[in-house]
C-alpha cells in the first residue's frame, strides 16, 4: 500500500525591504499603499493559500553611516495592516513578524488576541528576537539586552503571552440581559508571572479569541532558535529552500520534537522560496538571469561585497576584479540593521574562496555576487515548478513553502493562475478552504478553551 501524498502548504511573503524585490521593473507598484497589500492578499486567497506573511524591521538599514537606499525602503506597521487585510479577505491566515525584544507581553498579547477576534481566527505570530543597540535607539529601553539573552527573553516573552492568552477560558462571557450577568467569573483574565525578564500581574482584558492563541512561528536558525521552535512553535519560517539543505534542516528539527514530547505533525517546516516562471523552462531560466541582474545592480554588488569585507569599497568598479585587500576581520561596522552580515562567519575564508571563484570563471564583482548570491529556488515552466515543489514536499525537504515574489503587488498572480491549478490536479493542494481558521488550514489542533483543558486534566 502506498503512503498517501502529503498535502502542500503555501504562503505568500509580501515583497519589500530585501534584495529580492525588484522595484525598478515597470510593473512594480507601491510597497506602502494599502491597495498593494489588498491585491496581494486577494491573490493569495483566490489561490487558497494558507496565509500571508509580513516581515519586520524596526530601524532603517544603514551602510557606511548612511541609510541604505538601493533596496525598497519603508514598510507599514504590521498589526495595523493585517487588521485592515482581515476586512478584505475571509479565510487567508495573517502572519505578522513581531519582535520580542522591543515590545511588552501585555501589549503584544492583546494585539494578537484582537487581531484573532477581528479576523475570525486567522492570526499568526512569527516570534523574532533582536538585541542590537542600533535598533534599540528607537525605543524606550535602548540597547538593553545582551546578545546571549535574546532567546531567554524570547522564550519567557512567549511563555508570558501564552499565560495571557490562556487567562480567559473562553466561556466567561454570558451576557445574560435578563439577569444582568455579563461575566460569570470576576477573575476572568487573572494572571501573575514572575521571571528574570518579566514580573507582571493583574487581569488581561481581551477575552479568549477564536483560535485560543495565534499560531506561533519561529524563524531563527541557530541551535537555540531550533530548540526554541522544537519546544513550542507551530511552524518554522526557514531559509533552506534547496533540496539537500531543506531535507537536512527538516530531519534535524523534526528529530528534536520527540524530546519535547511532541509529534512530527505538530511543527510545520516552511522554507522561504523565490520563483521565476516562464512558458518553457528555457524561457524561465533566461528570465531568472535577467531578474538576478535587476536585483544586483553594480552599486548593489559593491554594497554586498562590503558585508564581507567590512570596509568601504565604493572606489571599486563593479565590472572589474575583486579587491586585492583583505576583509577587516574586526567587529562588523559597515552594515547595520541587517541579519545578513552574520551569515559570513569567517570573512577571510569567504574572500579567499570568492577570489578563486572569480579568477576561475573570469567574473567581475557584479558577476560574482549574481552567481554566488541567492539564485531563485524554483525556476521553470508551471509544470516544472509544480513538479519540483511537490517532489520537495513529498521527500520531506519541507511541508510547503512561503513564496517570495520579486514584484509588488502582482508577482504572485502568475503562480496563482498557473502553478496552483497543477498542484490541485495532482491532489496535493486544496481546491477549497475546509475550515475557517489558520489552524484549520495548517492542520494544527486548536489549543482548546481553558475550560476544556481543565476538564481534560481532572
Amino acid at each position: 500500500m502506498s503512503t498517501p501524498l502529503k498535502q502542500i502548504h503555501l504562503a505568500a511573503h509580501f515583497p519589500g525591504v530585501n534584495n529580492t524585490t525588484v522595484w525598478s521593473d515597470p510593473a512594480a507598484g507601491s510597497h506602502i499603499e494599502f491597495s498593494s497589500f489588498a491585491h496581494f492578499a486577494r491573490t493569495a486567497e483566490r489561490a487558497k493559500f494558507d496565509f500571508l506573511f509580513l516581515a519586520e524591521g524596526l530601524r532603517l538599514r544603514e551602510q557606511g553611516g548612511n541609510i541604505y537606499d538601493l533596496d525598497v525602503v519603508g514598510r507599514p506597521d504590521t498589526f495595523t495592516v493585517l487588521s485592515a487585510l482581515a476586512a478584505v479577505t475571509d479565510r487567508l491566515g495573517l502572519t505578522g513578524t513581531i519582535n520580542s525584544t522591543f515590545n511588552e507581553p501585555y501589549e503584544v498579547a492583546r494585539q494578537f488576541a484582537s487581531l484573532d477576534h477581528l479576523s475570525g481566527g486567522r492570526a499568526a505570530w512569527n516570534v523574532v528576537t533582536s538585541w542590537d543597540a542600533f535598533t534599540g535607539e528607537n525605543f524606550r529601553r535602548g540597547g538593553f539586552l545582551p546578545q546571549d539573552e535574546r532567546y531567554s527573553r524570547a522564550k519567557e516573552f512567549l511563555a508570558t503571552a501564552t499565560e495571557l492568552f490562556d487567562s480567559w477560558r473562553g466561556d466567561e462571557i454570558v451576557a445574560d440581559q435578563a439577569s444582568g450577568t455579563f461575566l460569570d467569573d470576576a477573575r476572568a483574565g487573572a494572571f501573575a508571572h514572575q521571571g528574570p525578564h518579566f514580573d507582571i500581574a493583574g487581569q488581561f482584558n481581551v477575552p479568549r479569541s477564536p483560535q485560543g492563541r495565534p499560531v506561533i512561528f519561529q524563524a531563527g536558525d541557530s541551535e537555540e532558535g531550533r530548540e526554541f521552535a522544537a519546544a513550542g512553535a507551530d511552524a518554522i519560517f526557514s531559509r533552506y529552500s534547496t533540496f539537500k539543505e531543506g531535507q537536512a534542516f527538516y530531519t534535524d528539527v523534526k528529530g528534536r520534537l520527540a524530546r519535547h514530547g511532541r509529534t512530527r505533525d505538530q511543527l510545520l517546516i516552511l522554507p522561504a522560496a523565490t520563483f521565476v516562471l516562464g512558458d518553457t523552462d528555457a524561457e524561465a531560466r533566461e528570465l531568472a538571469h535577467e531578474v538576478r541582474r535587476q536585483q544586483v545592480s553594480g552599486a548593489t554588488a559593491i554594497k554586498h561585497l562590503e558585508f564581507v569585507w567590512n570596509r568601504d569599497l565604493s572606489a571599486y568598479d563593479p565590472d572589474g576584479p575583486l579587491p586585492d585587500i583583505d576583509p577587516d576581520p574586526g567587529e562588523h561596522t559597515v552594515a547595520r540593521g541587517r541579519a545578513q552580515v552574520r551569515m559570513y562567519r569567517d570573512p577571510l575564508a569567504v574572500a579567499r574562496e570568492w577570489r578563486e571563484l572569480a579568477a576561475a570563471n573570469k567574473w567581475s564583482i557584479r558577476d560574482l555576487v549574481i552567481e554566488t548570491g541567492n539564485r531563485q529556488a524554483f525556476i521553470g515552466s508551471p509544470a516544472t515548478v509544480a513538479e519540483t515543489i511537490n517532489s520537495f514536499v513529498q521527500a520531506d525537504a519541507g511541508d510547503g513553502f512561503i513564496l517570495v515574489p520579486h514584484i509588488t503587488p502582482g508577482g504572485l498572480d502568475v503562480f496563482a493562475d498557473t502553478v496552483v491549478p497543477l498542484l490541485q490536479e495532482r491532489g496535493v493542494f486544496r481546491t477549497e478552504y475546509e475550515g475557517t481558521t489558520l489552524r484549520d488550514h495548517l492542520g494544527l489542533a486548536h489549543p482548546g478553551t481553558g475550560a476544556e483543558q481543565e476538564r481534560a486534566a481532572s
Binding site: T80, A84, A86, S119, G120, E137, G202
Partner: protein, 402 residues
C-alpha cells in the same frame, strides 16, 4: 433662537462597548455577545458615516474596565474586556470611505515609535482618515501589567494631594514628549523621499529622510520612522481634558481637545483658558478645535429618553453620573443646546451615546437632519481626509528645506 448658523458644527461620536451607560448592554437593541466581533464595529461605524459625522473615537485601556477611578472593581454585571482600538479602527477602515477613525492610545505604557507607525499605517489603510486620542494612565494596576514602572497607590480621595498632582504633571509631560516624537516621526520622511531612480539605482533620496534625535526625560528616539509620511502628513491628535494640566497639553500639542463643561459658563471659561494657553505656547495662529463632550440619551417622544435613562439606572442599581454633562431629551432639544453652546467658542461636539444600539441612530437619523435643517451641519462629505473635514490644511514638513 437662530434658524441658521454661520459656522457649521463638527460632530463626532465616542464609541465604547455597548454604550456609555453601564447597563447599556442590557437594552434590547444592544448586541452584547458581539462586542468582540468585527461585524458589530463595522455596522456601528457605517451608521456613523451614514450620518456624515466627522469622526468616531474608540475608547481603549490597558486593563479591564472599572467603575472605580483608580482600581479594578471586580464587577461582573457590566461589559468587561475590549479589543485593541487601533486594530478595530484599521479593521473598519477599508469598509468605510469618509469618516475619520480616531483610536485611543495610552502614552504611559507604550512606545511612541510603534504608535507613530501604527497611526501612519491607519492613515494609509483609510487613505487619510486617521487620528489618535492620547491618554495617560495613573492606575497602579495598569502599570503592574507592564512591570516597567511603579506608580503610587492612591484612591479617589487623594487626587488633590501633592503626590498625585506631581504624578499627573509628570505623566502629562511624558505624553507631551510622546506626541512630539510621534509627530517628528511622521515628518521624518519628506513626501517625495521615494524617488525610484533607476539610473542611479536609488529607491529613496536619503537626504529627504531625517533622524529625529529626540532626547527627553523618559525616552530617546533616533528615527527615522520605518513608515513613509502618511497621506495627511500629520494625522489628527486629540485629547480629553478636565483640568489645567491636560488643558495645557491640548493647547500645546493637539489638534482637538475634548472638554466636559456642564453649562455655558463653564464652557466659556474653559475655552478661554485653553485659548490663553494656546497663545502662550505660540500657537495662536494654528487651528485648534475644542469639542464639548456630552453623554446623550435621545428619543423623539418628549420624556421618553428620561424614562429610558431611569429604566437603565434601575437595572444598574444606581443613577448614572459622568465626567461629562448627561443630556436627556429629544434631538431637537439637543440641537438647541449644541447651537447655544457653540456660541461659547466650542467648534464641535463629541457625543457619547448612552446606548449605542439606540442613541447612535438617534444622532445620525434624528439630530443630524435637525441640524441640517438649521443650516448647522454638512449635507454631504466635503473632503476626503479627516484633516479636510476639520478644516485643517495639510501641514508642511518640519524637516523640508525647500
Amino acid at each position: 433662537m437662530s434658524e441658521s448658523s454661520s459656522t457649521p458644527l463638527h460632530l463626532a461620536v465616542a464609541l465604547d462597548g455597548a454604550g456609555w451607560h453601564p447597563a447599556a448592554w442590557r437594552e434590547p437593541q444592544a448586541r452584547p455577545r458581539e462586542l468582540f466581533d468585527p461585524a458589530y464595529w463595522t455596522d456601528v461605524v457605517t451608521e456613523a458615516e451614514r450620518g456624515l459625522l466627522d469622526f468616531v473615537t474608540f475608547e481603549d485601556g490597558l486593563s479591564l474596565q472599572s467603575s472605580h477611578r483608580t482600581e479594578p472593581d471586580g464587577r461582573t454585571d457590566q461589559v468587561r474586556g475590549r479589543l485593541d482600538a487601533v486594530l478595530i479602527a484599521s479593521r473598519v477602515a477599508p469598509l468605510t470611505r469618509h469618516i475619520g477613525l480616531v483610536p485611543t492610545v495610552v502614552a504611559t505604557h507604550t512606545e511612541p515609535f510603534h504608535i507613530s507607525k501604527a497611526i501612519a499605517t491607519l492613515d494609509y489603510v483609510s487613505t487619510g482618515r486617521a487620528g489618535l486620542r492620547i491618554r495617560v494612565s495613573r492606575r497602579r494596576h495598569e502599570a503592574e501589567h507592564f512591570g516597567r514602572r511603579t506608580l503610587p497607590r492612591f484612591g479617589p480621595e487623594d487626587l488633590d494631594t501633592p503626590v498625585v498632582r506631581e504624578l499627573t504633571a509628570e505623566l502629562f509631560e511624558e505624553a507631551a514628549d510622546y506626541i512630539e516624537v510621534v509627530r517628528r516621526l511622521w515628518d521624518s520622511w519628506e513626501d517625495d523621499a521615494e524617488i525610484r531612480d533607476v539610473a542611479t539605482g536609488r529607491f529613496i533620496d536619503r537626504d529627504k529622510l531625517h533622524y529625529i534625535d529626540f532626547e527627553g526625560r523618559h525616552f530617546s528616539v533616533k528615527g527615522p520612522s520605518i513608515t513613509p509620511r502618511p497621506p495627511q502628513g500629520q494625522p489628527v491628535i486629540s485629547a480629553l481634558a478636565h483640568q489645567s494640566v491636560p488643558y495645557r497639553l491640548v493647547a500645546r500639542a493637539t489638534d482637538i481637545g475634548y472638554i466636559t463643561p456642564h453649562d455655558t459658563d463653564q464652557a466659556r471659561a474653559t475655552v478661554a483658558e485653553i485659548r490663553a494657553a494656546q497663545a502662550a505656547a505660540g500657537r495662536a495662529a494654528e487651528p485648534l478645535h475644542i469639542f464639548g463632550d456630552l453623554v446623550v440619551f435621545l428619543d423623539d417622544e418628549p420624556g421618553a429618553a428620561a424614562a429610558r435613562r431611569e429604566r437603565l439606572d434601575a437595572l444598574a442599581g444606581h443613577p448614572y453620573t459622568s465626567d461629562a454633562k448627561v443630556f436627556t431629551g429629544t434631538p431637537a432639544q439637543l440641537a438647541d443646546l449644541l447651537l447655544s453652546w457653540q456660541r461659547t467658542g466650542l467648534t464641535g461636539f463629541r457625543l457619547r451615546p448612552g446606548v449605542i444600539g439606540h442613541d447612535l441612530e438617534a444622532i445620525t437619523r434624528g439630530l443630524v437632519p435637525e441640524l441640517q435643517r438649521r443650516g448647522a451641519f454638512r449635507r454631504s462629505y466635503e473632503a476626503d481626509t479627516l484633516r479636510g473635514l476639520l478644516g485643517l490644511a495639510r501641514p508642511a514638513n518640519r524637516y523640508a528645506t525647500v
